[in-house]
Amino acid sequence: MNAILTNPLRVGLRQERVISPQCIVIFGASGDLTHRKLIPALFELFRQRRLPSEFAVLGCARRPWSDEEFRSRMATALGEEVRNHQSAWEQFASCLFYEPVDLEQPEHVVRLGQRLEVIDRLKATRGNRTFYLSVSPAFYGSGCRSLAAAGLLADPSRSRVVIEKPFGRDYGSAQQLNKVVGTCAQESQIFRIDHYLGKETVQNILVLRFANAIFEPIWNRNYIANVQITAAETVGVEERAGYYESSGALRDMVQNHLTQMLALTTMEAPGRFDPEAIRNEKAKVLQAARLADEQEPWNCCVRGQYSSGGSQARPMSGYRQEPGVNTNSTTETYVAMKLFINNWRWQGVPFYLRTGKRLPKRMSEVVLTFREAPVHLFDAAGGSPTANQLILRIQPDEGAGFLFEVKAPGSGMRSRPVDMHFSYDESFGEPSDEGYVRLLADAMLGDPTLFTRSDEVEAAWRLYTPLLELIDDSPWQLPIHPYESGTWGPGASDNLLANDGLMWRRP
């Protein structure tokens, strides 16, 4: 049988929304994110003909590169992607420009403005600009100020700023940064990016909930017993020790990615599919979220740090042995916690969040466990019937599963659980776009739906403030539990659920 791997009729149909002519300006163009994520995402958009002909990328960093050097470095970084699409790359590369800029130097920013005007004329980009701050978080505020001072953010319909995570280090600093950014540009111009929201499966949480009538009536405290949200990584800290040492898993993963999954899972239905309506609901639910024990947070949170592990053939070093990590580091690489949401829909339902590095499997999922049937009529193969579970698999094997009891074959009436399985691969067969492809396109389109609004960011930081204060002020009260690399985290994390008669789902 001659199998067709891709759907030949699907080619060229991803053109539903048109990106206006524009220049995207990347600050931090010499950095890792630019060549690993941003330029590949823009090249993908270009190859899908989703970028207009009147388009330019202006890379900015302190290094004194020329346009040609920037193009050549990007080509090298993209490697095989460029070799596989040589002629497309040549066209795309002609849209790449570079300007040495230090955002702290006003004259550099003035020169940047002049260069942008030249590019506007050269590429007819119509003065539409997306400024992408892929720089150290310490420069977010001053970067915005410099752009505003040079008049580059003056027209809200034509200029916008994309800000990478982390947006602040805690509630206070996020508030302060929001204030600074708010004096430079309107909220509608600010796009706080969380690449998790670019994932099809994360967006699918909204569609699954609000496009199907069957889920919403049971999506509440009356039917759901508990919710687990997991984001597990197999990798260690890699080359990010400098950043990670000062952030840890709570700031790096929980405050943004896991909290966004929590918000999408628990928000009320928006009145319409409109960015502000959706973000209003997300902000509202985050404002209603609380740690399970705010007075004594150590009762509802477990921190861990990976130690060495692996096998003889493939040994894995511990966190404190990683290059760039303090040998006495108390930075958590694992965190698990229990939350409640104090509103009518969710009162009393525990939400368990966990994330960690060097866990056995790379996976992210949201698991909704339903209440048990009120009466057990049948013997269960496993002793007692398994509670129904709806599993939203964010990555990998993107899709959803529903676990429910059926009659086990045989003469008796024993029940056993089975899994009803939906897979993106099996249904659509096309790999989803990388998160940055979707988010860059949305930012250039000026669609903020998948970006975090200031009040959402603040609500997310406020939620974890008791933990952050504890970590900063009296870390011994929230001790670091070591766990062996390649295991599912410290035993204390299992106890967090065991205290409630539950256990983590083993994916």
Partner: protein
């Protein structure tokens, strides 16, 4: 989005003074404002149908060049009054021609070029040049100019402005006015030419208005099918960026068909297509042929022969073809016109599509796509009981001409969409003489 009028009443100027006036206006009169660095849009706007509907008292003025429901309703009523087949689409040039044979002297204000669709004005064209042909062939050339700055509620900050130039007159006068166009277009911004009329008319005007590298927007449902396809072939072949609104209106059909084959388990069926049937409204096959050509191109079919299928009906003849698949097997293609009571706005709208796949050792798969507004009973009939059936209803496009044009202007390309470029030559071959 509501149409926008120019803020300033247009100033009527002698043709020779248009260019100097605009130069002076931008250098002195609009100090502090800069011309929007966007694009120039040249629109051929004869609006024959609207002019005749108003002249014969079927609609009230003013003449705007915009098609709306009221105009379409009046046109539908006029179809039977003109003795045309019920399947005649209201936008069909035949109807405008037939209305032209009727008496009537109603007059109305002519605001063509000043009545800009909100979707288009939102992109702030730097210069909008409209050629408004009048019914009276001897109408002298009138030229009007207005400058405008977008209002804050349109997203403007008042700094970047544009201007509007209208050339109005009989065909002869407009030909004289062509000399004005090139200096007004300039070379520093992209220029789009929207031929908002039949492709049969004024070919020399089209050539003069839309040389390469100007980007051309046409509608291949307006004009004789042969002329429409030949023009697309010629222009795309010459390397021009061509956008066909008729092709864009195929989007929902292409999406619906692609959706059927998204599950990988279905994809192999695409290797085993044995029959493709398409039904279209009335006697304009171009849209159906473009769809067939797109499918054939995407699946790598080779055209063996094409032929006309005489029907003897007023709705026109059908077209047939034999393709060879990549594995050497044959695919039978038929496109048939079907009469409809309430045709859609444009000639040749799709009614239904049937694709039959016969994989070895598996039950055949029959895919039927039906238009939302009509049935496809003809395609549902006969011999499908043993087949796996995938039936979808294709939603009607809900966007106006101007919205489609605005999408193109909002983020266009300087090359033709490769899928259209591949489909057009094949569609032209399918249109057998």
């Amino acid at each position: 989005m509501a149409p926008q009028l120019t803020l300033q009443a247009p100033l009527e100027l002698p043709p020779t003074e248009v260019s100097p006036y605009l130069t002076q206006l931008w250098s002195q009169g609009l100090q502090g404002a800069t011309g929007a660095a966007t694009f120039t849009l040249v629109v051929w706007e004869p609006a024959w149908l609207e002019q005749h509907l108003i002249r014969t008292g079927r609609c009230d003025g003013p003449i705007t060049g915009l098609v709306n429901e009221e105009r379409l309703e009046a046109a539908r009523l006029a179809v039977s009054e003109c003795g045309l087949p019920f399947s005649t689409a209201p936008m069909a040039p035949d109807l405008a021609w037939a209305l032209g044979q009727l008496g009537g002297e109603h007059q109305a204000q002519d605001l063509r070029g000043q009545f800009v669709s909100g979707a288009i004005s939102a992109h702030m064209p730097r210069r909008l040049i409209t050629l408004a042909a009048t019914l009276a062939d001897n109408h002298p050339l009138e030229t009007m100019v207005a400058a405008y700055c977008p209002l804050p509620e349109e997203g403007g900050t008042g700094g970047a402005c544009g201007d509007v130039v209208v050339l109005k007159g009989g065909m002869g006068a407009l030909h004289q006015g062509l000399a004005l166009i090139s200096p007004l277009v300039g070379n520093d911004l992209p220029c789009w030419v929207w031929w908002n009329g039949s492709l049969d008319e004024a070919p020399e005007m089209l050539s003069a208005l839309a040389p390469i590298p100007r980007r051309l927007m046409v509608d291949s449902s307006l004009g004789t099918p042969r002329r429409c396809l030949d023009l697309l072939v010629e222009r795309i072949g010459a390397g021009q960026a061509v956008n066909d609104l008729n092709w864009l209106r195929l989007r929902s059909w292409r999406e619906s068909l692609a959706m059927v084959f998204d599950p990988p388990g279905r994809r192999d069926a695409l290797n085993h297509v044995v029959q493709l049937d398409i039904d279209v409204e009335g006697n304009h096959p171009v849209k159906g042929l473009l769809l067939a050509a797109w499918i054939a191109d995407r699946l790598g079919w080779h055209l063996e022969n094409s032929f006309v299928i005489p029907t003897g009906e007023a709705s026109g003849d059908g077209f047939g073809a034999e393709f060879q698949r990549t594995d050497g097997e044959s695919v039978r293609f038929r496109l048939m016109p079907v009469p409809v009571g309430v045709p859609k706005a444009h000639p040749g709208a799709l009614v239904g599509l049937r694709l039959i796949c016969a994989p070895a050792e598996r039950p055949p798969l029959c895919v039927i796509l039906c238009s939302e507004s009509g049935g496809c009973m003809r395609l549902e009939s006969g011999g499908m009981a043993s087949m796996e059936l995938a039936e979808e209803v294709v939603p009607l496009p809900n966007e106006s001409e101007e919205m489609e044009v605005a999408r193109l202007l909002g983020g266009g390309h300087d090359t033709t969409n490769p899928l259209l470029a591949a489909a057009v030559p094949l569609a032209a071959k399918l249109l057998a003489h």
